[in-house]
């Protein structure tokens, strides 16, 4: 039977986030990770709340929502395992979420303790560099696609 850590390690190693990480760095992440499950409608993050975890999506689908007063929540992006990571607000002060995120399918994640992760990044700069590069790569791609969406490319053009 698999104990908790070996199950987490197996989940982590099969996740795209772990691609090209050395075993020592994976072991560090295993110590910070906790498997979590969400039913449809469950929130992973709430705007303004402390960003105490970030998430590696293992299965399911999550919608990122912006709450507009008077109009309610608006989905701005959906994320699945192919998108790898959910949450970067833990990286910059004041470490609070800027968006809601909610499961729209039964979802499993590995939740990383972000306070411990920041501390591990500060202690081991090589680990920190590798982790930050993972986040930068994912978020640079999201910024790129968001900018293209801003062009409203499907709108009518004469």
């Amino acid at each position: 039977m698999m104990n908790g850590d070996s199950m987490i390690k197996r989940l982590l190693e099969s996740h795209t986030f772990a691609d090209q990480l050395i075993p020592a760095h994976i072991d560090t992440l295993v110590g910070l990770a906790e498997p979590q499950s969400y039913e449809v409608g469950d929130y992973l993050t709430r705007t303004g709340k402390p960003a105490n975890h970030c998430y590696l999506i293992c299965c399911g689908q999550v919608t990122i929502e912006l709450y507009e007063p008077g109009r309610g929540p608006r989905a701005v992006e959906t994320l699945s395992p192919a998108d790898s990571i959910l949450g970067c607000s833990w990286l910059v002060k004041p470490y609070t979420w800027c968006f809601d995120s909610r499961a729209i399918e039964p979802t499993q994640t590995l939740a990383l303790d972000t306070k411990a992760l920041r501390s591990a990044c500060e202690t081991d700069h090589e680990f920190g560099y590798q982790v930050l590069m993972k986040f930068v790569t994912v978020y640079a791609e999201r910024l790129r696609t968001s900018r293209i969406q801003l062009t409203d490319m499907y709108s009518a053009k004469e």
Binding site: Q61, T63, I64, R71, G72, R74, A75, V76, E77, T78, S80, A82, D83, I104, T145, I148, Q149, T151, D152, M153, Y154, S155, A156, K157, E158
Partner: protein, 279 residues
């Protein structure tokens, strides 16, 4: 009866059987030949020049089934003078049709292969005949995925048909929108994000891409990231087509005329000129 080049330059009269309102600004015209002649055989991806009398001609992709020769189907977005004039027509009205023109989607290249179809906005229209063809010969292809990006849920084309395709067990259909409205429970984000979620063997897959050029560029980039070669990607280009037979030069794209050498091109053939802004 006209022959030779005259036949390609003289419109034949077609009558509108039905107008289907797809979205706020997009509609589908179902036509038949006014004097009862059988319609021209076309290949998926080809286009006709549609003549709105008193307004002019516009190149419009054929969006119906290649196996219904008596019915000609075009999906049109009302954005210019001609297409806005077409938008005012109703069943029983007549229009002129020249065509079919251009090179279509190569089907033989895909037999025995996985297929990834990436469509954006009205770009789904020229791909629909291809989808009909694939469904008709479904056993001849591997995994087939249709990835479709629309501006909003209200802008999704062929909604009923999309539902039918999604319900098939032998087609993977994923739809995403750039802007979700209340009640939308599907994907939100750029269509390129769907490509890594799609199961295909990059060494035995063919991709067909149609949509705004910026969407096609980023789709190609993602398809290549997933291992597809430049040889295995086909895209449909859009330029200002006038004569449709490669004489007038309006649709010149580097050394090619889009009307005659395209609109469907193998990516490898045009990759070097795709990023040249002046073209």
């Amino acid at each position: 009866m006209y022959t030779g080049e005259t036949a390609t330059m003289v419109p034949t009269i077609h009558q509108i059987d039905r107008v289907i309102h797809e979205t706020q600004d997009t509609f589908t015209l179902e036509l038949h030949h006014s004097v009862g002649e059988r319609g021209a055989v076309f290949r998926p991806g080809q286009f006709n020049m549609i003549y709105a009398f008193g307004a002019g001609e516009a190149a419009i992709s054929i969006s119906g089934s290649p196996h219904e020769p008596d019915r000609l189907t075009h999906t049109v977005r009302a954005v210019g003078t001609v297409t806005k004039a077409l938008a005012t027509l109703k069943a029983g009205d007549e229009i002129g049709v020249r065509g079919p023109f251009g090179k279509g989607w190569p089907m033989d290249a895909a037999r025995g292969h996985d297929i990834v179809i990436v469509a954006g906005g009205i770009g789904l229209a020229p791909l629909r005949p291809l989808i009909y063809e694939i469904i008709r010969d479904r056993g001849q292809f591997g995994n087939v995925a249709l990835l479709y990006g629309a501006r909003s849920p209200e802008d999704i084309l062929y909604e009923q048909e999309m539902r039918e395709w999604r319900s098939r067990l032998d087609l993977e259909v994923i739809v995403t929108v750039d802007r979700a409205s209340a009640g939308w429970h599907g994907c939100v984000g750029m269509v390129t994000k769907l490509i890594p979620k799609t199961p295909f063997n990059p060494y035995r897959a063919i991709a067909y891409v149609c949509g705004p050029e910026i969407m096609m560029s980023y789709s190609i980039r993602e398809l290549k990231k997933q291992g597809l070669s430049e040889d295995s990607i086909f895209l449909s280009m859009e330029r200002n087509m006038k004569c449709a037979i490669g004489h007038c030069g309006h649709c010149q794209f580097g050394p090619h005329f889009v009307c005659k050498d395209g609109p469907v091109f193998r990516y490898k053939k045009i990759q070097k000129i795709m990023d040249i802004r002046e073209l």
